[in-house]
Each structure stands twice: as C-alpha cells, then as structure tokens.
Point group: none
Chain length 229, copies 2
DNA sequence: ACAAATCTGACACAGAATTGAAATATCAGG
DNA sequence: CCTGATATTTCAATTCTGTGTCAGATTTGT
C-alpha cells in the first residue's frame, strides 16, 4: 500500500528490467522509463519518493532532468540517485552540483543500489523504508497505516495520520504552523495557519487515552512539538 | 522560527536557484540577490546570520562587498563564505585576507556547501546549527525550543526564551539595555529601556530553582551579563 | 448513482498567557 | 545619608491558543 514509489530512468533495457524485478521483489513500487522527457511527465503525474537516474539517457540529458525535477516545487525535494559510467568523473561532480543526493558508478551490484536507496529513504523519511516508528508510547506502522498507543489502536483520520507521522519522524522538534502546512499539507498549500490548530486539537483528541498526558506540546508563538512520553 | 538567515549573492541564476531550493529544504531562510549593492542593502535591512558571496558578481565586486560588510557594525561579525572560480587562486587569498571565513572553489557540490555553512554556523553560533548550547548548569535546545537547568525543564515565555538564548550565546559578556533591545526585540524597536529590567526580572524568576544562585549579573550603569554557574 | 457518514477548512469567541509601561520600593556607592 | 540606578509589583492592552460549530467536499457503503 504505502510501498515507496521509485522512478527508474534507465535506457539500458536489460539493466532496467533486472533492477525493476529486484526492487519489486523487495516491495518497492517501481516505474521505469528510458526517456528523460517521459521521466519528467511521470514524475509530475505522480510524485515518486525517489528517482534513480542514469546519466546517459535518451531525450533530455540526465543533468537536465535533475535540474527540472529540482525546479518543480512538487519534486524539488525528491531524492535522486545518479548512475554514471566509471570514467565520467566530471559528470559526477556536475551531478552532485545539480542536486543529486548520491551517485553510483557502473558497474554496480543491484544489492549495492538497494542499500543506497534504502539508506537515502531512511535518511529522508524513515517511514518510507517500511520501518515502524516509535515515539514514547506511540507506535506507527506505515505499511499498515496504523497508529497505536500503549498497544491500543487509535481511530485516526487521514490528515491527523499524516500529522502524527510527521511529528513521530521528528520528535521533540518544534514546528511552526507554516512548516507543518508545508510538510503535511504540501508545499505552497493555501491554507489558513489557524486551521493547523484545529487539526492539532483533533489529533490530540484522537490520541488521548485514560490516564495519559498530552504528548503534543504547544510552544507559544513558535508552534507545536511532539514530546514523547 | 529560528531558521538561520542566509544571504546568497550569486549572479549565475541557475546555480542561485538550485542553492536556494537546497538550502530552503534544509530549513534555512534564504534570500538571494545577484547584485553587490543590493546585497549590502539587504544585509543592512535585516542582518543575515551568514553570507554566501560569489567572487565575480555584477555591480560592486565581491571583495568590496566583503569589506563593506565588515565595516558596518551591524554586519561586522557575520560570517562570509566565498565562492570562487577554480583558477583564481589569488582571489582566494585576497578573500581570506579581506575577512571571509571560508571559501569554496567552483565547481562544488551543494552538499559540500551545506556542510561548510553548517560548520561555520556551528563555530560562530552553535544554536543556529541546531546544537544545544550550555552555560554552567543551563542547557538550551534550540530545536526543541527548550531550556533546562540541572536537567529540569524550565517554564519560560517567548521573550524570556530569546533573552536567555542570547545570553547563553554570549556568556559573561555585558550588554546594555539598548543592545539587548536590538538583539532580542529587533533593531529599531520602540521600547522603553526600563522594560528590559522587567524581563530580566521575569527571566531570573523563571530560571531560579532551590539552592541556586542567580546567574544573571547586574552591572551597574552598564547592563546585564550571564555569569554561568 | 444515491444517500449517509466522514473529513476538511474556516470562523468566531472565550480564556489564557504574555507584554510593556508606570508607579513604588530598594539598593549601591560615595 | 544622598542620589542615581535597579528591583518589584501591578495593571490594562495585546497576542495567541483552545474549542464548538458549520457548510462544503470527499469517501464509503449499498
């Protein structure tokens, strides 16, 4: 359900198929294209969680794809792993300059790529790596889309789920309403900041049990933070 | 929020945009200009926490910007990271001479620049890099927006928080009421100097515990200072 | 496709916390 | 014991947060 969505941009058909198979068997949701322009369209239609990008591809070049992904707000923060030929040291430099998060020189083992992907995802968003996250007496299973407190499942709505998940991914840290809107509602959402309060309240209500203190701390004039019990 | 404010002076539009995205996604508050004179105006209006300065820019040259930033009291201590072309070794030397804190030769990876920025901020003002700062038995976590004394969390209001944070960033140093108003309330605030006394009093009360002496020293006819226990 | 149930975002208002200033009490140093 | 400076107390104004409610949008179940 919430399998991490990968976009693989690779024009070596054999390699692409191999990787697709490998990643799918590891539980990723993979889409493949050999063409740079295609890649941009696919990324725009359904924002992937990570892009694996071959440097030497048809159509738009790798560097161009990279740049355009970064330029579009929706995909600006999607991590990118580049695949480059061994010799092309310069490309590597330019790649990192352009905003790739990591790179791998060919030839590489699928296992190695898997490890990098997993590492990058874990760094960016632990929940995407399929790990349950815990914070105090709260436990969240991203795969099952389920949150429990003290082992008791909570009845929680979509927005509140995303909210608590975000908080649990960054415990103790204070976020302003603006940051929460960006992170939970999506960058550039045109929503009233005060509305965050309302959802915080709904979340508090949803996660409250008998004899538990509210783990969400209000930091006046700054925002909110999850304070694990 | 307490996002570090960066001023990026770069006339390569593509690079500037790329960096702006990267830094914003890392939680910095970035402002960009391609022009040296603009940069000086922007720096004067709202003192940044760090300046990233391309050596080769339109208008006033990099070296000139650097010099003028150093000349103005408000920006004299703002760290500067220079970006130079690979060949221009001389510029690098002159840059460091002029007062830049660090430099980076093009091409460089955004990640590298991020690391430098973080390193410089950590050196100059640990709290801006998200590190906890300690002063005697006081500990302040800027990310969690939390202050504790002897491991005990303190109940503290917004203004008192900013005040103690400022003191902890500059322990032992004496500040006049005017300086405190500028630093904590913001330059040009129209507030009575006497009011500072009141907040000092509130702060003292907020950080007092049993069997602790007051770490805030009154320096008669000069101001106040934090004297770590 | 239709109706019920749920979810969302926006308001508005009450209550709580914070703030700045003014008035009064104390203090430090000569 | 003066005198200028700082500490406290008090208070009204302002800012910020918690909640109840509502209409419209979305999802769900049939």
């Amino acid at each position: 359900m919430s399998a991490p969505k990968l976009l693989l941009v690779e024009d070596d058909t054999a390699l692409a198929e191999l990787l697709e198979y490998r990643f799918e068997s590891e539980g990723y949701d993979v889409r493949v294209t050999a063409d740079g322009d295609d890649a941009l369209i696919m990324a725009a239609e359904d924002t992937p969680d990570l892009v694996i990008l071959d440097w030497m591809i048809e159509g738009t070049t790798g560097i161009e794809v990279c740049r355009r992904l970064r330029r579009d707000k929706a995909t600006a923060h999607v991590p990118i792993i580049m695949l480059t030929a061994r010799e092309a040291e310069d490309d590597r430099v330019r790649g990192l300059e352009t905003g790739a998060d990591d790179y791998l020189t060919k030839p590489f083992s699928p296992r190695e790529l898997l490890a990098r992907v997993s590492a990058v995802l874990r760094r960016v968003r632990p929940a995407l790596a399929g790990e349950t996250i815990e914070a105090g007496d709260l436990k969240l299973d991203p795969v099952a889309h389920r949150v429990e407190r003290r082992g008791k499942a909570l009845q929680i709505g979509p927005t509140e789920y995303r909210l608590i998940k975000f908080f649990m991914e960054h415990p103790r840290r204070v976020f302003s309403r603006g940051q929460l809107l960006d992170a939970v509602w999506g960058t550039g959402s045109e929503i009233e900041e005060r509305t965050v309060d309302v959802h915080i309240r709904r979340l508090r209500k949803a996660i409250s049990l008998e004899n538990t203190r509210d783990p969400i701390r209000t930091v006046r004039s700054a925002g909110y933070a999850l304070e694990p019990v």
